[in-house]
Subunit: 291 residues, 2 copies
């Protein structure tokens, strides 16, 4: 996956951290630790690409890109805590609470979430995009990240553990837990460039579709890699109590869904006049990824 | 303490909660549970009083009042978690994680923090106060609640456990952990009424001073009530490893500080033309409270 905005994103992320020259240095170090453990930066890349597609300058979208990544990072820190998934590792490194203790990890997540809204509504960001756009961007992020969005999806996920859920529940879960923040990223990119409502809706559709495609492809990879290790038939969910698209629909129909969602995402790009190739490539790369 | 805005605040708080008619009902119930366990609603009262003092209509300030209370409530839920203070009780009721489990309590806190910014930046709030005021209010709340404010204070608090700290550290701790959110409330009240910068600064000074007076009075009450139970000399901190103003400065100088801060807070109200009596009374009531 080619992220042509990776370098400015990485630089800006750390520039937004508060100074570590204070008594609460450990907090800033914990925030930085998890930001540095970042993966492919898919969400900030989506902000930057939609902004570019709508004719915006990169520097205008950088605060929005960083805010979305801060929210994503906070959600991973809280997800890894012992009372949640209890993960000791995140992307091959010790998880935040393993490095800094549970208390600091909890607060580092809280601080990153708060920092996201600080960035979106600061005087500096307002000078770049105007008060209304700042205000709307914060509203979009809060709506998609909160109780009716990502956090709601996490609660549905908790309730779905160790039981077989219906397709409707799984759809609600993935839509909220995974797709919502990706949708927010796409909408924020359009907002940064002052795009019209039609374009924002199209970006939202693209985001929702690649969010689902991403999660279903994840389930497929989990299932096929597990099968290689265990030598068990594809699609068996005996070892995995959690319902996934693969366990509910089987491998073939799941692969079909990834293709359908990806096609719908690419189709939504027709609404835009500019060069849609980077976002088409991104949708295809996510669908075809092997890890 | 007379809170003439209590009823509209209570009503608005629950109106802002998402509908519980969803799969993540347990999350909304957990959010509501801790909001209902609310105490004196000092912070929303400050928003409403400063708004009134600056000539604003009550309904204009209600979203701001609710947002500050959401942030306060989230901080209490996370503070009570086993990895933090590990409190089973909050205001005589089981703490959130005792009722709903640690995972849901963590997420209820996250959702309340996010909801605060949702409220401040929604289209409805923008229709009441305008885009710029929404944007600035969110910026003020994020700054005072985040890594350089309340969350930073919580980290300093964690680092100060079981050791005697200097007066400078305690000052930094209390300023951030307690005073910052109270300052935010006072500033938000002025913002809701479109008050000028001089008034916002005066409100901020009032908030900082009553924040300190509140915390020092808390330390005094903790110390004197403990002494009644244990029959030990006032000011003894053998039982309490944590440094407080009383353990550092003694009871007499601490009482003097409460009086000084309260006088400074009341003095800051000179900047305002309207009826400052309610805020004068509030400062005095906080300083003289017995529980």
């Amino acid at each position: 996956m080619n992220n042509r905005f990776l370098q400015p994103i990485e630089e800006a992320l750390y520039d937004y951290l508060p100074s570590a020259d204070c008594r609460e240095r450990k907090l800033v170090e914990a925030m930085r630790y998890s930001l540095e453990a970042g993966g492919k930066r898919v969400r900030p890349m989506l902000v930057m690409e939609f902004n570019a597609l709508c004719g915006g300058k990169p520097e205008t979208a950088l605060p929005f890109a960083c805010a979305v990544e801060m929210v994503h990072t906070y959600s991973l820190i809280h997800d890894d805590l012992p009372c949640m998934d209890d993960d000791d590792l995140r992307r091959g490194k010790p998880s935040n609470h393993k490095m800094f203790g549970e208390d600091t990890a909890l607060l580092a997540g809280d601080a990153l979430l708060t920092l996201a809204f600080d960035i979106l509504t600061s005087d500096d960001t307002a000078a770049l995009v105007g008060d209304k756009t700042c205000r709307r961007a914060a509203a979009v992020l809060a709506r998609y990240a909160g109780a009716s969005g990502m956090v709601g999806g996490q609660v549905i996920d908790l309730q779905s553990e160790n039981q077989r859920v219906t397709y409707d529940v799984l759809n609600d879960l993935v839509g909220k837990k995974t797709a919502c923040l990706i949708q927010a990223a796409c909408e924020l990119g359009c907002l940064a460039a002052h795009a019209d409502e039609g374009k924002i809706r199209a970006a939202s559709e693209y985001g929702e579709c690649i969010g689902f495609a991403f999660q279903i492809q994840d389930d497929i990879l989990d299932c096929t890699s597990t099968d290689e290790v265990l030598g068990k038939p594809v699609g068996s969910d005996e070892e995995n109590q959690k319902s996934t698209f693969v366990s509910l629909l089987g491998l073939q129909r799941s692969k079909q869904m990834v293709d359908n969602y990806t096609a719908q995402a690419v189709g939504a790009l027709r609404r835009f006049m500019g060069d849609t190739q980077p976002l088409t490539d991104l949708a295809l790369a996510l669908a075809q990824r092997k890890n």
